[in-house]
């Protein structure tokens, strides 16, 4: 592959490098293209924050399910069909009027893939990883979230294979909503703890 810095931007150099790697790995028989395509398709199309939103909405509607989710997250989440890689040991963290939960991985970018998909760039970035544990209130402000000064902020640094999902508080004015409808209120950020669910007036009925 070309390493001539004068011909390519850094980006296209990386592109060429990945292409070269893939060629080498295929020619050596280490990887199969169809498997690669399936991996990409899985995380690009199938597994994403809609999974977690369904779990949250179900917990909002069903007190028994919520209890199960908070005490045995893996079983409760698997019952809806989500499990596996980077979600082998789940814990669900309930937000209350007294405590707001927020998740980070300061050492790499651990994230609950089965329920949230792949992490967003900001979650993997140095600003978030460095500041979430020392200045969570400042970080929340950058997401437009201002919490009462006396509300405890509990930050969970994902330093083991335990993966955390935040269960945000159900927005008011949603009495009688269906799970599917409630799930539309559950944003990815509200399940990381850097955001809150949408208000009913923020989504089209």
């Amino acid at each position: 592959m070309s390493h001539d810095h004068h011909d390519h931007s850094d980006l296209s150099e990386t592109e060429l490098r990945v292409r070269a790697l893939q060629t080498i790995l295929m020619e050596k028989g280490y990887v199969e293209p169809a498997a690669l395509d399936l991996l990409i398709e899985t995380y690009e199309k199938k597994i994403g924050p809609r999974n977690g939103a369904r779990v949250v909405a179900k917990a909002w509607c069903d007190p028994e399910y919520k209890k199960w989710l908070l005490t045995n997250a893996n079983a409760a989440i698997a019952s809806v069909g989500y499990a596996g890689r980077q979600g082998e040991h789940m814990m669900v963290l309930e937000n209350t009027p007294k405590r707001h939960n927020m998740v980070v991985c300061t050492l790499c970018s651990c994230y609950p893939w089965p329920v949230l998909g792949l992490p967003p760039v900001w979650y993997k970035s140095a600003p978030y990883r460095s500041r979430a544990v020392a200045d969570p209130r400042g970080v929340l402000r950058e997401f437009g979230v201002e919490l009462p000064k006396d509300m405890e902020i509990r930050v969970w640094d994902s330093t083991s294979e335990i993966r955390y999902l935040v269960l945000p508080m159900r927005p008011t004015g949603t009495d009688g909503w269906s799970e599917e409808h409630l799930a539309d209120l559950v944003t990815r950020d509200s399940m990381i703890g850097t955001g809150l669910p949408k208000r009913p007036d923020e989504i089209a009925k």
Binding site: M1, V31, D37, I40, T42, E44, H89, A126, A134, S160
Partner: protein, 219 residues
């Protein structure tokens, strides 16, 4: 190791930049860097702790300058080179220059769904009773191994409370070195913001880490 990956409490990186409607990948090469990394885990035979160490032991200036998938890529190249699967001269040349190493298994398309669904649980039978109990105050050790560890610098030396017990889990510090799973009790330990950050801390903040028993000492 006290590498550039240990970012908790560092300053100077600027503000967090949320991206509205962010796609899972931002370029075609990211898709492939992602898929190749996942797929190579099977013939490569390394574990997740070895992968993490390969990434965090990049030169700190590189680690901080690279994007996430660039770090993955550099880690993958390192892991493969260490095992003679793909050598740097081959990546430079853009084609195989050495014979393929025999590998026992590769990822078959038909196995993808099952491999992902199964994952790689790290919980193990507990052979010994837990040393610490719920609510007990413990100190995170002041330790500075040059090898892989999952105890961030910002909690070392500080006192927290055992917030939950998770049974025994594969111990990354051993696992990353190829020294076996060496399962150890795993706890969530919660620290007050002021304990961690002194007067500069927010008194309404608590921060927890998941800590294996060898990271902790009684007080």
């Amino acid at each position: 190791m006290n590498g550039a990956q240990d970012l908790g409490g560092m300053h100077g990186f600027g503000s967090v930049k949320p991206e509205p409607n962010e796609p899972p990948f931002h370029a075609e090469w990211e898709r492939h860097a992602f898929a190749l990394t996942l797929a190579m885990g099977i013939p490569g035979g390394w574990n997740i702790d070895m992968s993490r160490f390969a990434r965090e032991s990049l030169p700190p200036a590189d680690y901080l300058a690279k994007s996430y998938y660039e770090i993955w890529l550099a880690g993958l190249e390192k892991l493969m080179a260490e095992r003679g699967l793909v050598m740097p001269d081959e990546v430079e040349a853009g084609k195989p220059l050495h014979p393929a190493k025999p590998v026992t298994r590769t990822l078959k398309p038909g196995d993808v769904a099952q491999v992902l669904y199964r994952g790689a649980p790290t919980g193990r039978e507990s052979a010994t009773p837990a040393r610490f109990k719920l609510g007990e105050r413990v100190r995170a050790k002041n330790m500075h191994p040059r090898t892989h560890t999952r105890l961030p610098r910002y909690v070392r030396g500080h006192v927290g409370v055992i917030d939950s017990l998770h049974g025994c889990h594969v111990f990354p510090d051993s696992h990353a070195l190829g020294k076996g799973e060496n399962p150890q009790w795993l706890y969530t330990v919660a620290f007050d913001g002021r304990e961690l950050w002194g007067a500069d801390g927010d008194p309404a903040v608590k921060v927890s880490v998941d800590a294996w028993e060898p990271y902790l000492e009684p007080i």
